[in-house]
């Protein structure tokens, strides 16, 4: 499909969702009080939510954002908007940057936050959202400056960050220190031999349950201890405590944080837990999720396929 056809399709979806929302009986009396920009944001939020978990969620969110909200993203245009509308535009930039982190979206957030600050109207949650976005974009220097300028917001201290020049572009993670608020960039090798890449998060109860089941099974434990790489999505959670706690309890399978999505092309959808089975760097199987009854049989089958 040509890109203009794709754009038309995405926008058609957006405007269909507007009509669907207007027809929806679940609309609240307060929705009638929304401004047109706020209504656009509500529809955008719904579209993003409906596409959540789909492989092209970032592209769709970005295209709709570009068509509907980027028109507001200049200092003079923002000045002409009401406060409620600036808040809605900030939320739109925040949302699109979450799914499609980019310098362009961070720049828009910066503009909106500056306008909110100029009006003396930036709230703690907006301050916190922008700070989280800087973390997700790995803009550690800007985070530190922002933290210093916004002491009263009681933001969490920015982590110390150590970069290494030779890590390359693929399979890059932030290694969480066991004892301090420190992140170190490191490259993981999943391109050689048979490997299991586990997308997981220490606060995800499905990941916790999966790890419990793996540790309770001697054979699975052996395979995972020797051949797995545990990586969390590049999200905005700044609290490294759960990673340290996990590391303490699961020394052979610590969870690192993906530097960004782009360096992990094997991951189509960042959901936890997802077990990706690789042989010489090629994906040969996948097991998604951890239901109450577990997924041990599926893991055994995929492990056999990669000869572990």
């Amino acid at each position: 499909m040509f890109s203009w056809q794709r754009n038309v399709a995405t926008l058609s979806l957006f405007f269909s969702s507007i009509i669907a929302c207007q027809l929806s009986s679940a609309s609240t009396p307060s929705q009638e009080k929304l401004t047109p920009v706020e209504q656009s944001y509500i529809k955008f939020d719904r579209l993003v939510r409906d596409n959540s978990g789909k492989a092209d969620e970032a592209r769709q969110a970005s295209e709709v954002y570009q068509s509907v909200f980027s028109v507001y993203q200049s200092p003079w245009k923002l000045r002409s908007l009401t406060l409620r509308d600036v808040q809605a535009v900030f939320m739109a930039a925040d949302t699109v940057d979450f799914y499609d982190p980019s310098d362009r979206h961070i720049t828009d957030m910066r503009l909106d936050y500056a306008e909110l600050s100029r009006r003396g109207a930036a709230t703690l949650d907006q301050t916190s959202a922008f700070y989280g976005a800087l973390f997700q974009a790995r803009k550690f220097e800007e985070m530190t400056a922002f933290y210093t300028q916004h002491k009263s917001a009681q933001l969490p201290k920015p982590p110390l960050y150590f970069a290494k020049a030779d890590v390359g572009q693929r399979h890059v993670v932030l290694d969480v220190s066991s004892t301090s608020n420190t992140l170190t960039v490191r490259g993981d090798d999943i391109d050689h031999g048979s490997k299991i890449l586990v997308i997981s998060h220490p606060l995800c109860h499905f990941s916790q349950n999966a790890m419990r089941a793996i540790e309770a099974n001697a054979e699975l434990r052996r395979v995972f201890d020797q051949n797995s790489v545990w990586v969390s999505p590049p999200d905005r959670n700044l609290d490294l405590g759960p990673f340290q706690e996990w590391k303490k309890n699961h020394r052979e399978a610590p969870i690192s944080i993906a530097l960004n999505q782009a360096s992990w092309p094997e991951v189509q959808i960042w959901q936890t837990p997802t077990f990706i089975f690789l042989r010489e760097g090629k994906v040969v199987g996948e097991v998604i999720g951890w239901p109450v009854e577990g997924n041990v049989k599926a893991l055994d089958e995929e492990i056999a396929k990669i000869g572990l």
Partner: protein, 186 residues
């Protein structure tokens, strides 16, 4: 009977302290009776943590079972009927619309929600809104501006801390979602 957040917090702290004290005392007496140095304080703390987690989990399940709104249809009825006394009135029109739009239910009740619109509310306001859905035990987590949890909290209630920035996925996963929270209830 309508309880405030502070009332509930005090009640939880008292219960937690009592449970922990009883277990540590029990372990100490067991150690004395057996005259064995092997009964260690860490072991009794683990037992206390497990029991407290179980107690809090049970409490959260009871909250869910007693919640006024446990399904999408109950939510729709509530939205049509709710008046000026509704806790949802503490939210701006945009935030109310966003919060309502984000609510997801499963067979046990509330499974996921967008906590973002609740930021900036007082503890009582958040508590009262979450009480509509039986999720009031998550008030403290929602209130946190920083998302920082201490290790002790993680140890005691590992399944009760919602994973922010994710929602419950259909395939028994937590899935990226900008301002939702993936809870132990899905």
């Amino acid at each position: 009977m309508r309880h405030t957040y502070q009332w509930r917090l005090t009640q939880m702290k008292v219960t937690t302290s009592l449970l922990a004290s009883l277990i540590v005392l029990g372990a100490s007496f067991a150690g004395l009776a057996a005259n064995s140095p092997r009964v260690s304080v860490p072991a009794s703390q683990d037992a206390a943590s497990a029991l407290i987690a179980k107690e809090m989990g049970t409490r959260a399940n009871i909250d869910l079972a007693l919640a006024p709104i446990q399904s999408t249809s109950a939510l729709q009825s509530y939205l049509i009927a709710h008046d000026s006394s509704s806790p949802l009135n503490a939210l701006s029109p945009l935030k109310e619309a966003l919060f309502v739009q984000s609510l997801q239910f499963d067979h046990r009740g509330l499974a996921a929600y967008n906590y973002g619109p609740l930021a900036g509310l007082s503890s009582d306001e958040v508590f009262e809104i979450l009480s509509l859905f039986g999720a009031q035990s998550q008030t403290e987590q929602v209130l946190e501006k920083t998302g920082t949890h201490t290790q002790t909290e993680n140890l005691i209630t590992p399944n009760l801390i919602p994973l922010k920035g994710f929602r419950c996925g259909g395939a028994h996963t937590c899935l990226s979602d900008s301002t939702a929270a993936c809870t132990g209830n899905c």
